[in-house]
Symmetry: C2
């Protein structure tokens, strides 16, 4: 995979994105109409199957090779006391991922995905965004390229997740930077903060916003100044997947926020992505509205790690099963609507 040399090059690249294969998409829709069920009666399973066909350019989509990438980073803004957990938990959880003990390990087993965990300089947190940009341009590009190069271009589907103590605050800051409103629109209790913590998160968002207000018109600058390493890497992975026309299953609030700059820069930039689940972080709903995305599941989950995306990938498997395996009305000798 190529590397991005500067923000200008990246912005240009996002202007020319591969599109879904319309011919295969049309054939997939015809097949869905021929299968032994009332048209549309499988709802989103039908849409997902057609979406997979279009991006994979396969009349029979496949999910043999599912790659799951979990990026981890640490955040200077945790110095403001925005998280209920100590920052060392990020590294401890990365270790847990590597030992196979976390939720995402089990969920990847269930769905048959190959998990890779990429820790991004955990010993060097980003700068506190209330004081200076979280990342300088060089560090931003390093993380973006780490995301780009992590994607296996032979995958049938990519699951994206993250780990980073403090990163619901970071995701909220990115959303506030991209879409405006007021801080309270975007903050939630993350992993266990109380009412005072919630107010603190909103204050921290406003401080970061004021500090970086001159660059907020540029979505990539929002991600650089208010984001974090794992968010930037996710954005890189989403772009790499688009280049390789790999369908992506995003996880919850943080993964969606990380990918959002691509859609803001280029309408349709996330058309190859489905959002796996509706996070119980309240900002996620608002973000999904802005991106015009309907999450697949709503299971009151808020763990991150790609856990919601992995569960949602099970639904993709169901969609592929019915699309590829069902008989047509003609094959089965079943009468159509009178």
């Amino acid at each position: 995979m190529y590397k991005i040399a500067n923000l200008r090059q990246l912005k240009d690249l996002i202007q020319f994105l591969p599109e879904p294969d319309e011919e295969t998409e049309a054939l997939a829709r015809i097949r869905q109409g021929d299968l032994t069920k009332p048209p549309g009666s499988l709802g989103r399973l039908e849409e997902l199957a057609v979406w997979l066909c279009a991006w994979q350019s396969r009349e029979r989509p496949q999910l043999e090779k599912i790659q799951a990438l979990v990026f981890a980073g640490n955040h200077g803004v945790t110095a403001q006391g925005v998280s209920a957990y100590p920052a060392e938990v990020t590294a401890q959880m990365v270790n847990n991922f590597k030992q196979g003990g976390a939720a995402i390990n089990q969920l990847c087993k269930t769905v048959g995905a190959k998990l890779e965990v990429i820790a991004l300089e955990l010993d060097t947190p980003t700068a506190d965004f209330t004081i200076e940009p979280a990342l300088d341009e060089s560090a931003f590009l390093k993380c973006f390229n780490a995301g780009l190069s992590a994607v296996d271009s032979n995958s049938d589907c990519l699951i994206l997740g993250e780990m980073g103590i403090g990163n619901t605050t970071v995701a909220a800051a990115v959303c506030f930077g991209l879409f405006g409103g007021v801080p309270a629109d975007w903050v939630g209790r993350g992993t266990g903060v109380d009412d005072a913590g919630l107010k603190l998160k909103a204050d921290v968002l406003q401080q970061g916003h004021n500090r970086h207000k001159d660059v907020l018109k540029n979505p990539l600058e929002v991600l650089r100044c208010l984001g974090g390493r794992e968010l930037v890497a996710i954005a890189g992975a989403v772009l790499a997947a688009r280049q390789a026309r790999i369908p992506v299953m995003l996880d919850g609030y943080i993964s969606t926020a990380a990918a959002a700059p691509l859609e803001v820069l280029m309408a349709g930039g996330l058309d190859h992505c489905v959002v796996g689940h509706r996070s119980s972080e309240p900002g996620h709903d608002r973000l999904l509205q802005r991106l015009n995305k309907q999450p697949l599941l709503d299971l009151n989950m808020r763990l991150g790690e790609g856990s919601g995306a992995a569960v949602a990938a099970l639904v993709l498997k169901a969609a592929v099963g019915v699309h590829n395996g069902m008989a047509t009305f003609e094959q089965a000798g079943v009468s159509e609507k009178v």
Copy 2:
């Protein structure tokens, strides 16, 4: 499995239902709190795991043996023109199930369930409930016992579904009989009826209601007079599963309506059941409210066959995976909340 000899015996049986194992449930909750994730962050996956533990009486639940039962029946009320498909489609689809070509076949493969299809006297539709009771007591008990005896008491989980042209009207009639309101509360477009068809369905409901108004206080009589063979068999299977403490995944509107009399007769009678998905039939929402059930998925599905339940069983698998496989904070050396 024993057989039910009369309605009185059945009603008595429903007064003494096995309960979940509270001790195992408590241990499962403790384990969920010890696993390497913020408490509650896996939302419904946690609840589902605890629910499976409680009903299976296992500290580590299992889903090795999933049984899927699809019951099929035909309905005299189709003479009123309530369905857009001809009644012979029921038998054609049963044939399709047996050939492996339907949606439920593929979904059972995906989740690893063993599918059994039980056609209930398709050549003898029930009576038209606008004129007389759909089933006499003997026919009712035969279907109920067919459902009872179909359940494999060694299953880890039971998926229930149905096939029957006209049975959204029948399900709506049962709901109207059990819960009242007005016919329009309970009818929807089923498998492709238009505005006129929708009005017709409501009229048919009111006629049935008037015809059988003297017996509507007895939920089993509602099921007998306004139901159908596949609905009665589902009710039998739900009861057999309760007796064997097998967790049940119900499908959509029709399966939930079929099971509803048990909850009306005995509060908590469906505690061993989860509703797999929210059907796009509008009556389902109202029914779920009455039963205080929150469906697991909302994928705009309305096929029946147990299809929504089979997709939902994938989420159960995910729940079992995390409950059984995750490391505890202590095992993984991860710090808890400060």
